[in-house]
């Protein structure tokens, strides 16, 4: 039977049998339609990408105020377009490992303080120049300059010196960092000629597409770069285009009407309806993003760990996941890491809703009266509803929560990281170290739970410098346990990226690093002939 199916699916892929007939015959062989469809797409992939044509994406997250400069790249549209034209030193694979791109090889000294990146020869920029180690150093210089407005400035602060050494770039760090190569995968660090110092907005790098259209907030386009260094590996369509569609309904109708081939940010509440639309495929990816309830560990009443524990136990994570994300996510465990990260330990006990125990801890904390929780629509989609559900589950434990709904304007400047108990979101980082360093060490500007523990800081530093992966994994497990039982962070759930592709789109590979297959959807997909 399987041989028969394999034969049939190859016939479909080569165009000798149509899809409907195939599904019919597969059904006759007793195979479910869903499984038969999987077989088909495997066959199409095996048949190889179809070259040529125009591939279009309709994306949320673009504004008329955007610029091409990768340093200022903060929105989804620029992120996705950046992956079309830009090239990085290294890139994150779907399994969380690193793939060398412009860097051919990365090695470190035994103390993980000196890193040598060998730069690949004969990679060509879109303007015809060759990528040289000097361009790499200039790029890192531009992003790490203290006066820089680059969003990558923070993660590059550990760099002490850098220099060109033959065909390599040698970087010395102020302190040991075993994750240094992961920092180089940050999507802002697009290698540009002379680091983009001359014209950061030129949109010139070494990616699979050359920038042809740059209309901020409206549309972007690229044409296949003939001398792309990876040849046919990426960039199957002759042309790619991104249309900025911020309205979710318009995005969906554009996909259904065939004006675009793929969209991002499908709302969880309509996913079940969209699944029934013929030709539309929902692409979900479990990512690293999560939606925290943040408590300030140094501000009363949250400076009491019994109260913090009561508030953690009083959260019904399953209910929140079910009602707010409609199941498109996974429950959190009160530390900022999940299985999408390398070196994650999956044996940490899942915290469950336990109103009795919560009441016990609440009584022990000696707190009385209501607790003020601030929320807003902009914290995350459904944040106001999430706060209300939480209020109800807390009531079951005898804890009174008062909700204050803050205006979206100024939420990030006036409420988040300013008020002691509020809702927020985190997009996740490439590695555990980056996540902890960004928000959970004493000196972090974005320490939005005021988690200031010298012993924890030391653990983060030690783990950062540890090159033995087994030891490191154990260290991260210990950190997760401390965070989970003593931290100021309540994590109801990690979210999923929900994207959708239209008729005939093939080659999609999800990547937990980001939405739209890590931003490569346009470069890696093709249209069925």
């Amino acid at each position: 039977m399987s041989k028969e199916l394999e034969f049939l699916s190859r016939r479909v892929a080569s165009g000798k049998l149509n899809r409907r007939d195939f599904l019919g015959r597969a059904a006759a062989l007793g195979v479910s339609a869903a499984f038969a469809n999987t077989l088909l797409s495997d066959a199409a992939r095996a048949e190889g990408p179809v070259k040529g044509g125009l591939l279009k994406a309709g994306l949320q997250g673009g504004e008329s105020s955007n610029v091409l400069d990768p340093a200022l790249n903060l929105s989804q549209v620029n992120f996705n377009f950046g992956k079309c034209w830009g090239e990085l030193l290294v890139e994150l694979n779907p399994d969380g490992s690193l793939e060398n791109r412009i860097a051919e090889e990365i090695g470190s000294s035994p103390d993980a303080k000196t890193w040598t990146m060998k730069i690949r020869k004969d990679i060509e920029f879109h303007d015809g120049k060759t990528v040289k180690p000097e361009d790499v150093v200039a790029t890192l210089e531009r992003h790490s300059d203290e006066k820089s407005k680059s969003a990558a400035l923070g993660i590059l602060q550990g760099i002490d010196t850098m220099k060109v050494d033959g065909d390599s770039v040698v970087v010395t760090l102020k302190s040991a960092d075993a994750d240094f190569p992961y920092l180089m995968a940050d999507y802002h660090l697009v290698i540009q000629p002379n680091g983009g110092k001359d014209n950061p907005n030129a949109g010139i790098s070494a990616g699979p597409y050359k920038v042809t259209i740059d209309e901020p907030g409206v549309r972007y386009g690229g044409e296949k770069f003939a001398n792309y260094w990876q040849g046919d590996k990426l960039g199957h369509a002759d042309q790619v285009e991104i249309v900025v569609i911020n309205d979710p309904t318009a995005r969906m109708s554009a996909l259904q009407g065939g004006q675009v081939n793929m969209i991002n940010r499908v709302e969880p509440k309509i996913v079940d309806l969209i699944k029934r639309v013929p030709g539309v495929t929902i692409q979900t990816t479990s990512g690293k993003g999560f939606y925290p309830f943040n408590m300030f560990c140094d501000t009363a009443p949250f400076d009491n760990n019994d109260l913090r524990m009561a508030l953690k136990l009083a959260m019904d994570r399953e209910e929140l996941l079910d009602k707010i994300l409609r199941g498109y996510g996974s429950v959190g465990n009160d530390f900022p890491i999940n299985e999408a990260y390398p070196l994650f330990s999956d044996d940490i006990e899942q915290r469950k809703f336990d109103p009795d125990k919560a009441a016990e801890f609440y009584k022990k904390s000696g707190h009385s009266g209501s607790i003020l929780l601030r929320t807003s629509d902009v914290a995350f989609p459904g944040a106001v509803d999430a706060a209300q559900l939480y209020q109800q589950s807390c009531a079951k434990a005898g804890i009174k929560i008062e909700i204050k709904r803050e205006p979206g304007d100024g939420y990030w400047s006036e409420v988040w990281n300013k008020q002691p108990f509020s809702l927020s979101y985190w997009g996740g980082r490439a590695t555990q170290d980056q996540m902890y360093s960004t928000a959970y060490i004493s000196s972090a500007d974005w320490n939005d739970t005021r988690w200031k523990r010298p012993d924890f800081d030391k653990m983060v530093l030690d783990a950062r410098g540890e090159l033995d992966q087994d030891k490191r994994k154990k260290m991260y497990r210990d950190m997760a346990l401390i965070m989970r039982d003593e931290g100021g962070l309540i994590v109801p759930f990690f979210n999923q990226y929900i994207d959708a592709t239209g008729k005939g789109v093939q080659g999609w590979v999800s990547n937990p690093a980001q939405e739209m297959g890590g931003g490569y959807a346009l470069a890696m997909c093709w249209l069925e002939a």
């Binding site: 907030g217 309904t249 009407g257 304007d409 400047s413 006036e414």
Partner: protein, 319 residues
């Protein structure tokens, strides 16, 4: 033309200029009280304190408000709208294309809706209180009563998704073939036409019906003129003033009030541009767009005023 009219027109224009100045002060003051801070908004949640401080210094956010007002007004009067804080691009040149898009959409909607509204209004008067009148009024009022986003989505659902006749998103760009451009804006044009049709139609109907009671219409009837001839030759010219007023009001709406339609159809016009920059606290852009909208509104109102002055025989032929 006699001097009283010239004087009146000059008065209106002077008043308009004064109004513009007052509006410019208001716009400037209004943008000062927006909560939050430009630098913070540009960098968003991902702002580091270093990047914030650098950006604030670069944008000159530390000067007092009145100094920034006069610097800005001076620039505007010399045709320099400044540069956008968030993107560093010249505002005048980036607004240019979008203003043209907005005007083009407004123009297309206007050349369909204005004649249609007036003709329907005349028909309604001719067959007043009959089924034609009731049908026209009913449909027009129904289409106005629905919120514009509902009409927009309804059109998208049927014409773009179900039947796939017109595109559901109206992304237009420079160098787009004219026919393609027309096709792209078919749905937003239809939505706008439906939204603003009723008011103009009802006003035409009311203004002319009012005149149908007058003595000169009765005379015309007694002369034996046909109903259409009476409406066309005697009633319509005398109803021009109120009709022009409501038409101008709707034209102004078509230019400055179409944010919702632009968002639904992803049309790259002024409204979307304004909303993006309000969200980013990009004050120079918000001020520039606000000023342009105010200028459009005031100019159209002056035109309406002048038209009613000129159309008024008592003012044209003073004793």
């Amino acid at each position: 033309m006699s001097s009283p009219i010239l004087k009146l027109v000059a008065q209106r224009v002077a008043l308009g200029i004064l109004l513009m100045l007052a509006v410019s002060v208001l716009i400037f003051a209004g943008t000062q009280v927006l909560p939050g801070d430009v630098a913070q908004s540009i960098l968003g949640q991902a702002a580091t304190p270093e990047a914030l401080a650098n950006l604030r210094a670069e944008l000159g956010l530390n000067d007092p408000a009145y100094i920034r007002y006069f610097r800005w007004l001076g620039g505007v009067l010399t045709g320099d709208l400044g540069t956008a804080l968030s993107s560093g691009q010249n505002i005048a040149s980036s607004i240019g294309g979008r203003l043209w898009n907005t005007l083009f959409l407004a123009f297309c909607a206007a050349i369909i809706s204005v004649p249609l509204a007036i003709v329907l209004g005349l028909l309604a008067v001719r067959y007043r209180d009959g089924w034609v009148d009731k049908l026209i009024s009913g449909l027009a009022l129904a289409s106005t009563s629905f919120p514009e986003f509902f009409i927009g989505y309804l059109l998208v659902y049927f014409f773009a998704v179900q039947w796939q006749i017109f595109p559901g998103i109206s992304t237009v760009y420079d160098g787009m073939p004219f026919m393609e451009r027309l096709q792209a804006i078919a749905l937003p044009t239809a939505a706008l036409t439906l939204v603003c049709l009723a008011q103009m139609m009802r006003m035409t109907r009311a203004a002319i019906l009012n005149l149908m009671q007058s003595a000169f219409v009765e005379t015309a009837e007694l002369k034996g003129l046909s109903a259409f001839a009476i409406i066309r030759k005697h009633a319509l010219p005398n109803a021009v003033a109120p009709i022009v007023n409501v038409v101008m009001l709707n034209l102004a709406y078509l230019i400055v009030g179409v944010v919702v339609i632009e968002v639904i159809f992803v049309y790259p016009g002024m409204g979307q541009y304004l909303v993006d920059h309000v969200a980013k606290r990009d004050v120079p852009v918000v001020q520039a767009v606000g000023l342009i909208f105010a200028a459009v509104y005031i100019t159209l109102n002056i035109v309406a005023d002048i038209a009613s002055i000129v159309a008024n025989p008592r003012l044209r032929h003073p004793k």
